[in-house]
Symmetry: C2
Subunit: 246 residues, 2 copies
Amino acid sequence: MASELKKGNMKTIRKPQHSLVYESLRKHISEKIYREGDLLPSENELCATHGVTRPTIRKALDKLVNDGFIVKRKGKGSIVKGTPMGVGILSLGGTTAALGMENLTTLIIVKPEVRPWNKAFSFELTDREKEFGCIYLERLRLINNDPVFYDITMIPNINLPRLSALSFENKSLFDLLRKHYQLEVTGGEQRIQAILATEKIQDNFKVSKDQPIIQLDRKMDTNRPDFSFYSQVFCNADKYALIGTF
Amino acid sequence: MASELKKGNMKTIRKPQHSLVYESLRKHISEKIYREGDLLPSENELCATHGVTRPTIRKALDKLVNDGFIVKRKGKGSIVKGTPMGVGILSLGGTTAALGMENLTTLIIVKPEVRPWNKAFSFELTDREKEFGCIYLERLRLINNDPVFYDITMIPNINLPRLSALSFENKSLFDLLRKHYQLEVTGGEQRIQAILATEKIQDNFKVSKDQPIIQLDRKMDTNRPDFSFYSQVFCNADKYALIGTF
DNA sequence: TATTTTAACTTGTAAACACAAGTTAAAATT
DNA sequence: AATTTTAACTTGTGTTTACAAGTTAAAATA
């Protein structure tokens, strides 16, 4: 029977309390309501303001520690570290988060479009992924008008309504997926190589052919089981170092 | 008074239960007692065998999930992913863990020795770190007799008895610090660059001067507050790709 | 026999409680 | 005044209890 489909399939997923507290505190830190060096309210105070018990608060704080937003000291409290800068290129986050939005501009070289695929760079695909095809895009990212990153992104075209219509200009792909589809990157794999600039790279980066370039193939796993997406980043780390935390 | 010193300063630190359970399970996975794909005993079974309650077991399992040893599925159980291969160069772990011990040999180029220091590669030092000096060593690492990594390691010479006497041959620095000093790497920073082989690199790697090389500067933070150590790795990722998880 | 239901597992969330242990500043003591 | 003690915070660890929700295989039903 399809009765549950007829009813509208509107089962709203109730988010757990610790997750709501986490997002609240994370937002407060990102928006500089709590600043670097500040002490967060004590666990007991947070219990009161959020109307939950300590284990729930502690679970939220654990995640913040894990994500690098705070550090905790016994007897002292939770100290704000700030929005994890540089938790970007090489770890969880995107280039936007890594470098700040200030001087970063993005040029869309290939607009998001649905394509067939059989491989994602050096990563193999499952039959299910191949069947659905992918959303493909290419971007060139400039810092102070210097081209620094060239990235190709491929996302399985599974249950992501209107994704190809969304604007990718000057936006973190990670944030976009988090906000629109509740997709969180939980980890992944990456391969790094150093190569000499190919012709395409030479054109885009305006460099000579003996310029060493970092090539980064990445597979990003998410909180949606068996859903990963892929990107290949070329980086001219000549003027700007490629920084990350882990 | 120094009475507590006279008594021998023998306050043995009791490790928390969840930490013991974590180490036990971790060991069982590393030693292939639990293999990839296996289901770990259920949380309730683990409670019984370890004589603790569920929250304690769950805390240990949380850490295993976080470190990539297992994944959990609601209604199913804890599935062993295996010893996180490649959780090495670019994430938590060392080159030994990343590549397996099989074909990796290590040549000590500069034996561990105490040195003064004012900087750790691209990282600034605190006055306290400068004061104590560092333990310095250089290693060349070969895979199937091909030189692949050249790494310089600098560790603050603070409360690490007999470290410079320990054997670093074919051993993971991370494991060594974990076992001898209970030092766990909790995170860190890294900078990646692509460079052309310097003369020193050309000699060690037996490559020409137009060979692109990955340079990796890393700062490793540990569970000991305000204690970090540093390494600089040069990698000839020509034949072997540099893989990591995050 | 094929399908559906149920029951017995599994992990996930959450509360309420107790005590250990590190930190800090006020209070008591020397 | 300088030092020590204490008390009131903080986070860390651990138990107990309860129910929600996903998975699976056996049992009941068609």
